[in-house]
Symmetry: C2
Subunit: 167 residues, 2 copies
DNA sequence: TTAAACTTTCAAAACATTTTGAAAGTTTAA
DNA sequence: TTAAACTTTCAAAATGTTTTGAAAGTTTAA
């Protein structure tokens, strides 16, 4: 596999993965392109590389900036804007985890909490609703907390957790 | 919030979450309905509750069964088939993690591995491609392993990990 | 100011996914 | 067997999402 093949494979795979996880193809591919580019790229560059329209490029770059994983950069003496991606994989993970948690996980956790706290009327179906949504709430809340801790590199988190278990 | 409100809220939220994560609404809602139902439900029951067509119900039940989180159940003396969901939240999480890993994560990890192992020609762009895809590979591989371990309830995993760190 | 260089917006078009419902298929009781 | 009860399939319709591209907007150099 040579450079071009590898590059194409990476970009298209990243795009497909994005789609599968609810991130659109263009957004994922722009990110992939910037991720492996040693130089900042202009909108023009991106449009050419990925064969996508100006509008599409503009909208998805904005989204990537909203996510905090792509930044604008201006070169002195040039009118054009350039774009670079966050290059540190830990920071990328942290940022993605943070955004997904905020946008997608937290709101669901809130609903689960509310639903699981309705008052029981003693019927089997109400009991089951409460029991099952409570179980999901506990799982989701734990998973969310854990994910954020891991990704936030509280490297001594494992140690702390263990301390609590021991004492 | 009374039972009906809570139930509707849970089902619709679960459906919305599914959509956001690339699982279709009907599939997620059928799962939600079965998750909180103390009794097995027939296709008819599900169609009525969720106002979806027979075909849709059939296809999505099959998918849920493929995922290993919904099962067929037959009542003695009845021709109709009934459906129940896995009720244990740990088992649900395990099953979902396993399937997502198999279908969506593992294939990407393989591509990252292949791409990150191309031979360098010494140019900056090739070096960057290798470096950045390698970083993603390490992250994804670790995250996948970790997720599976956590979810597989190797409850002493944290302990084991710490042991390795200490020794 | 002006106009050139560039970016953003947004309605319409293209594309993709989901849903429907009727026909085909399957199973079972008699 | 047959026919009733039930499930699955699948092409067409509905719905939802993404992409385009041209017009509007913005910024900057002169």
């Amino acid at each position: 596999m040579n450079y071009s093949e590898a590059k194409e494979k990476f970009i298209s795979t990243w795009g497909a993965l994005g789609t599968l996880w609810g991130i659109n193809k263009a957004m994922a591919q722009i990110h992939a392109l910037l991720w492996i580019s040693p130089e900042p790229l202009s909108m023009e560059d991106i449009m050419e590389e990925l064969h996508i329209s100006r509008g599409n490029t503009s909208m998805n770059l904005r989204q990537l900036m909203d996510w905090g994983i792509v930044f604008k950069e201006s070169k002195p003496g040039e009118r054009k804007e350039y774009f670079v991606s966050e290059k540190d994989v830990q920071e990328l993970a942290r940022q993605v985890a943070k955004e997904r948690s905020r946008r997608e996980i937290k709101p669901v956790i809130k609903v689960l909490k509310d639903v699981s706290r309705i008052e029981s009327d003693g019927t089997a179906k109400t009991e089951e609703l409460i029991k099952q949504t409570k179980a999901l709430y506990d799982l989701a809340d734990n998973a969310d907390t854990m994910m954020n801790k891991i990704v936030n590199q509280e490297s001594n988190w494992i140690t702390k957790t263990l301390m609590k278990l021991i004492k």
